[in-house]
Amino acid sequence: MKLQTPVHSILLLIFLLSLSAPCRSEDEFSFDIQEVRKKNFEWGGYGELKWVHMDANQDSAFKVFIPEGDRRASLDRLSGTLQLDGNYSYAKANFHWLMQAAGQQDNIGWTDTADIFEAYGSIKPSPHGIAALGKKSYKWGKGYAWNPVGFINRLKDPDDPDEAREGYITAEVDLIKSFNGSLQNIALTTVLLPVWDDINDDFGRVNNLNLAAKLYFLILDTDIDLLLLTGNSRADGFGLDFAKNLATNFEIHGELAWQPNRKKYRLHEAGTLTAIEEDTLSTLIGIRYLSENDITSIIEYYHNGGGYSEEEMSEFYRIVHAAGTMHEQTADQSLLEQAREMSLKGYGSPHPGRNYLYARFTQKEPFDILYLTPALTTLVNLDDNSYSLTPEILYTGFTNWEVRLRFYYLGGGSFTEYGEKINSNKLELRLRYFF
């Protein structure tokens, strides 16, 4: 497949938008309710086209992990995604599914994926209880960018925290009770998550049945969750989260997660990678604030109790750089293999550090341009002061179309998280059509 240039992509975008120009008719209003009557079978989804241009960070430690023939000063990538979701409901039973298929072509080659994110049946014998069985995605926690209490969540991408994520095969029961008074609601969600060969085997150690639970209270106008994970696939987890509106334009939220004996790989002084178990306490505190000039600010501080210190990360980057030099000069791969193992076992994971700041500012419809939302997002590693800065513009003015233009800039010195990333910047244009 021949790669499209940015100019071609923009022309294609303009053409597609022109096809969907909004109806400009006389000022008459009608509402036929039959168009929206409930049907037993309903489905929808979106198709997405995304063009990405990335400039490589020539000083990145991680370039040693890329085969020499695949290294590029810059990379252009065109990808397409199709997401389908649907429901079939009959009486008190419901079946829900969510699937995603994606393919991408870049300077290196073609890759594609197809996944069933969710497929579960549920039954609701009364408003007090719901039972579900099948593959379901969990998004526990109140944090926007991170969820330390999300013990059975898939890892979130803070650059796109709102995207759908793949679930786990579980059996779940939800019990709900409402009251009058300062305690308004209680809800208990209990989840059984088996980990066997070929069933949830990426969750943790196999041949275990794990139990996760979330007890929710709405008390004194405050959301409070108590969370638990136990079983032998992962370390046990105990969590607490909360959220509350302090004013009509000000919300506060937080999370606290305690995981005793959590496994972590750490570089030993002798230069070997060893697994240790340690008790970790992770915390998150955040706010959401709407200013008088319609700027929504989401600001979160995250302490990753299981993260690596600045010195540990610096040592890791030093080893990766040394491995690259050794491999180039002597073709010796031993240190490179060690660096690769360190990267895979924790040091190379997303947000491996200890302390982070997330801030996102969105301006609603500036200059009276309806449906236009500019935003600025930043992620800062507070230990090494490296950061990402992401300005973006989102436009949703054409019914069922969404256009987003984003630029990522990564900044930081040598041996810092964002200073060592494989790219120094990224430009992304995304077009989505919902149906």
């Binding site: 909004p22 400009r24 008719s25 000022d27 209003f29 009608s30 509402f31 168009e35 929206v36 409930k38 929808g44 979106y46 979701d85 409901s89 419901n94 009364s126 408003p127 007090h128 719901i130 995605s137 969990y138 998004k139 526990w140 109140k142 709102d162 759908a164 939800d174 709900i176 009770k177 409402s178 609601n185 809800a187 969600t189 929710y216 709405l218 106008d221 959301d223 959220a243 509106n245 004013a247 009509t248 334009n249 000000f250 919300e251 959401r288 709407l290 929504t296 609603k364 419809e365 009276d368 309806l370 449906y371 949703t396 003015g397 019914t399 069922n400 179309w401 969404e402 919902f434 149906f435």
Partner: protein, 249 residues
């Protein structure tokens, strides 16, 4: 014996009667406001609405919502169309509000002043409780065929600090409402029109038009197609139920 009533006693009587008259007026005003609410919708109901944002050049964007409400302060609105918004649900319990987006998969606590759909309407407009739940009447003015009610928010958690509501005397239904911020700035004006019989004795406006000096040239229209009395369990108005709201239809 001097039978003249001392001047300070006269003053006290005058103030007492003035206060009593003001209290009676406010009480009558609040009673009138409760009548307005009773004429606008049943205590618990389900409703289908279409929200239309109109730009200065006439371009329109439409949203259809299914809404259920119970009692004074429990309410949910579910977006049925367009496809890009389908499945979004907003829940209100008193001053608490949450937004559920299917892709995100969990309810997020939001503030009442934010806008879910863009345009002139904010969350409070979409999940509006009865006026008498959020406001006290502080002044009633008889204007011939209409009353002008001056309303003051009961708490600072209410989106608009003050309302000036014009009520038709014959139908006891609002015809227009001006919404003011704490600063006294006019935020928006609502115009109710096209009274329609929704069945079971409910005759109320089927159209609500909104304009705002903050969005010059932009308008929003809400069309009401069905308002039906219906009872729901309290548990329907909880975060755990939010993704199941469509199953109530």
């Amino acid at each position: 014996m001097n039978k003249t009533i001392p001047y300070y006693l006269k003053g006290m009587f005058f103030l007492f009667f003035l206060g009593h008259a003001a209290a009676s007026l406010a009480m009558d005003g609040n009673q009138l406001l409760r009548q307005v609410d009773a004429h606008m919708q049943p205590a618990s109901y389900e409703m289908y609405r279409k929200l239309i944002n109109i730009e200065p050049d006439g371009a329109k964007k439409e949203f259809v919502l299914y809404t259920v409400k119970k009692g004074e302060d429990k309410m949910v609105a579910l977006f049925l169309s367009p496809a890009s918004e389908k499945g979004r649900a907003t829940l209100r319990l008193g001053d608490n509000m949450w937004l559920y987006i299917p892709n995100v998969g969990k309810p997020i606590r939001i503030t009442s002043l934010q806008s879910v759909v863009g345009g002139v309407f904010n969350n409070s407009d979409i999940l509006r409780l009865d006026y008498s739940v959020e406001y006290n009447v502080i002044k009633v003015e008889d204007q011939g065929s209409t009353y002008l009610l001056e309303l003051k928010a009961k708490s600072n958690a209410v989106a608009y600090d003050g309302l000036m509501m014009t009520v038709d005397k014959k139908t006891i239904l609002p015809t227009s409402i001006q919404c003011y911020a704490v600063s006294g700035m006019l935020i928006k004006t609502l115009h109710y029109s096209k009274n329609k019989d929704f069945g079971n004795g409910l005759v109320r406006p089927s159209m609500l038009e909104t304009d705002s000096p903050l969005y010059k040239g932009y308008r929003s229209v809400m069309l009401f197609a069905e308002v039906k009395e219906k009872e729901f369990a309290d548990e329907v108005f909880t975060l755990n139920y939010l993704h199941k709201i469509d199953e109530l239809r």
